[in-house]
Symmetry: C2
Subunit: 133 residues, 2 copies
């Protein structure tokens, strides 16, 4: 077996997976990461920062505990964040991005930023649309 560089492996991966195909595992992964809570969680955890559960809950204003826990669990399972329990009293649980998670950071910050910078244009488009239909 010849050794491949990381770049070669990545190029190979892109040929093997195609999210346009319904049965491709990358379609399911796309569905998982195309989620506002995933975007906000990764955005909040940017720059290798570590946040506690309660800090994340405060940052992602309005998230339910159930959703936050669910999102963090799936990110942990997918290897995007690490979960560290410190046996203080009461326990503290900290979350940090893994290198894999960090590779998504820029895209997630980009999407959050896009929503913020283009909000007014979208709003204007909606007014125009609603005036006509």
């Amino acid at each position: 077996m010849p050794t491949m560089t990381a770049a070669q492996r990545r190029a190979r991966a892109k040929e093997e997976y195609d999210a346009f195909l319904a049965a491709c595992p990358s379609r399911q992964l796309l569905g998982r990461i195309s989620d506002k809570w995933v975007a906000l969680t990764i955005a909040a955890l940017h720059d290798g920062g570590t946040l506690r559960y309660s800090e994340l809950a405060r940052r992602l204003a309005g998230v339910s505990q159930k959703m936050l826990t669910q999102t963090l669990r799936s990110l942990e399972r997918d290897g995007l964040v690490t979960r560290t329990v410190t046996p203080t009293v009461p326990v503290t649980v900290e979350y940090t991005l893994t290198p894999l998670g960090a590779s998504l950071q820029d895209l997630m910050l980009g999407i959050k930023g896009w929503a913020e910078t283009h909000m007014s244009e979208v709003h204007a488009a909606r007014e125009r649309y609603d005036a006509i239909r």
Copy 2:
């Protein structure tokens, strides 16, 4: 009223909107664009290409007609795509990205690409996780 450059207006917009806040309109917009069908639709429509409804349905394998119509309607309303009806028999309906939609293209292609290139790493992480828990 002093005139602002586009860059100034964009900078201003980023200060005014913050998707971390539950009540901010950009939070709702973030939720709308963090959607696998939105990502795939915009990815399929890349490079100013125009696609018919049936071509999109074929490209986004497995999408239900209801979901596709719903997604296209919301993209149209938000000013991201234009819908053009040509009165042939039967009618043909074509969809194209607007400049606003095109500004999301790279991010959407990026997310789709991320899912494809990192699928194997995520898969490996899941195996590790499931072996332990």
